[in-house]
Symmetry: C2
Subunit: 407 residues, 2 copies
């Protein structure tokens, strides 16, 4: 399995909550040394969705923190404290990559802005993840995943026709943004190999959301078209939506006329293989009748039966799984998609990075760290003496750890 792709790359990670931590987890999976700087009390995501039962069983580590923080080391540093700032600046002088998601101006005020750091460390790659970008009228506006689902227009096309729209259930803008940040950092590493110099890398919730919406924006820019929510259906083709089965729901996609022929023959040629449904335009026009005709058949069969029949006919079909059915589907493990972490006495699954490199192991992992667990080790590695570390602790540079449950 030879070298890790990012072996030897040190990442100083000031980011919190989802997008930044998800990005540095991928870099950690690729072998980078992730030094997670947490404020006193820790990344607030440590406490998201915690209950008394989970606190007792899993030692205060939330599902989202566990999901996004393997392969990291944790330091607790109070950046409002002068010694804390000095420590952070010294670390930044000796790493390859800095990642942060503070609002524009915050890092500069801490003496940790790109220009200040690059002066002493011209090979530094400085990755900033913001809400709306560093420049422009909204650059100082705060946001989160839901805010960008709203701002981007994604919510406006998600929901049932004629009813209020809904959010996409997961933090997709955050997670998509995390991969954007990863791609930018990897690009900057390649560029540094060519030029010997680092650079600033930017990603944002807004660019991430806009990328997810890209073909809707282009269609609007072409001729003003704005699509509306269509439940599980979409505007491109029919059938391309959910249908009821005897024991659940399945989605069926047969966009082209050829796929529709295969589908109709496999499911019920008597009622489906008729001229009203044979052409793509006709199917769009006769959507309601078609959905009724298909539903009349699917209702009489189980999900497994429908998947079997349509799988053989090479028509795209899938069950609408619950989270449990999805998480426990054996295909996830077969595709190297699950990494198990030891949390106290429990083994807890986490989802692998969404790509695999055949010549390197992306799936070995250390468990998400306890808050501040590696503070002393890391400081020693960066040349601080035992006495200095003790004196920082006394001066409050690491803060006075106290857990909060405010999230």
């Amino acid at each position: 399995m030879s070298v890790k792709v990012l072996g030897g790359i040190k990442v100083l990670d000031f980011s919190r909550v989802f997008a930044g931590p998800a990005a540095t987890q991928v870099l950690g999976d690729m072998g980078a040394d992730i030094l997670k700087i947490e404020p006193p009390g820790g990344d607030e995501a440590r406490y998201y969705g915690m209950t008394r039962e989970r606190l007792e069983k899993f030692g205060g580590t939330s599902p989202s923190f566990l999901a996004l923080n393997r392969n990291k080391r944790s330091m607790e540093i109070d950046l409002r404290h002068e010694d804390g700032k000095a420590i952070a600046r010294k670390l930044a002088a000796g790493v390859d990559v800095v990642v942060h998601n503070y609002r524009p101006g915050v890092m500069e005020r801490l003496g940790l802005g790109y220009e200040a750091l690059a002066e002493h460390n011209p090979r530094l790659i400085y990755a900033e993840f913001s809400a709306y970008g560093r420049q422009g009228p909204l650059s100082h506006v705060g946001a989160n995943d839901l805010a960008l689902q709203a701002h981007s227009g994604l919510i406006s096309i998600t929901g049932e026709p004629g009813r209020s729209p809904v959010r996409c259930g997961s933090a997709i803008v955050d997670l998509h943004g995390s991969l954007a940040l990863v791609a930018g950092i990897l690009g900057a590493i390649i560029h540094r190999g060519q030029t010997g110099r680092g650079q600033r890398v930017e990603a944002s919730l807004m660019l991430s959301a806009a990328h997810l919406m890209s073909y809707f924006y282009t269609e609007y820019w072409m001729d003003g078209t704005m699509h509306q929510p269509m439940g599980t259906a979409n505007h491109l083709s029919v059938p391309n939506q959910a249908f009821p089965a005897a024991d659940g729901e399945v989605v069926i996609i047969a966009s082209t006329d050829e796929m529709w022929q295969r589908f109709a023959h496999a499911m019920g040629p008597e009622t489906l293989d008729i001229p009203e449904f044979s052409h793509v335009f006709a199917r769009r026009q006769n959507r309601v009748t078609l959905v009724e005709a298909v539903s009349a058949i699917t209702r009489t069969k189980t999900c497994a039966q429908i998947i079997d029949i349509l799988g053989k006919a090479k028509v795209v079909v899938a069950k609408i799984n619950t989270i449990g059915e999805a998480a426990d589907n054996p295909q996830l493990v077969a595709a190297n998609g699950r990494i198990d972490l030891q949390v106290g006495e429990h083994s807890v699954g986490s989802v692998a990075s969404p790509f695999q490199l055949e010549a390197v192991d992306m799936n070995s992992a250390t468990t998400p760290p306890a808050l501040g667990h590696h503070t002393d080790d890391i400081l020693a590695e960066f040349g601080f003496s035992r006495d200095e570390i003790d004196s920082f602790r006394q001066s409050g540079a690491f803060g006075k750890a106290k857990a909060t449950m405010d999230a």
Copy 2:
């Protein structure tokens, strides 16, 4: 603006529709030379959502094709034809990266499998994008974005409580998968710099969707928790959802007690700054009353007024924009998020790659190519003579171009 990050990198791109083309567009924005191999008639996405009006105005290029195919050159090759296969193999011997999204086994049958190509080109990076991965019980099952929204459990948490769930309105699994593929390819380029050897890179709709669901899976694996759709709300905090304004809807997020205090003081301390709402647990318990109390206030104000008040109070807020409002918001241009393309006599916007590298220009673009426009040029660059090219054309190696409207 110096060198492009991927200057000199040649990518042979067999992928079609969304995820693969979106990935190679990002590589093209970074300076790679993308050779898009299209089957006779072209990538079917060229015809998605086309109408007679668009055909006339934009010369047969669909919104999604325009959105995801800038910075590429197009070749039309019939891979079912023996000469077509031979051409593809010769090209593959001289490129840095091959990208495809055929079902497992198809490229092998064409003589274009990884092992066969790597034998002659050990530096080759071979990027495969599949539905469920190359191995395991579902590896031969076809899928698309909606199928993985269903399979992954994402649909099960998207929608209104107590009603049938809905799809997330955009092809988020495809687009997230595109960045996974980009990150994998960039990682493999870095690794090749260290080892001199290419490797196989894998990404899939399933790993992409699982990554988007990662913290839901981990929560389920911890203690069996499965969340349900909550409209625009979520399970982590209150308020964290849409509220009605006099002229539209806004989302408001005030998760922590401190944010709630700022929110309550800014919007209406009389009815909001009360003990029943002051603590995070109390707000979750009194969700219905709280949402009513907040709505009573937001209904009396416009979106702009609410955004102004809460912006000043540093509470996260955003308008639920239409696609047009989102696409035309000046912040997108300010953050370098829009790239204009010349299509015939029209200028059409497209969304930039979702990250920016300060030292290189990511936003210069060539317009998505007409089908087969560069076939002859590329073949000449790879050493084919004029006579050979003519004879390929006569033998049908490029197919007999005919547009279809089947999508």
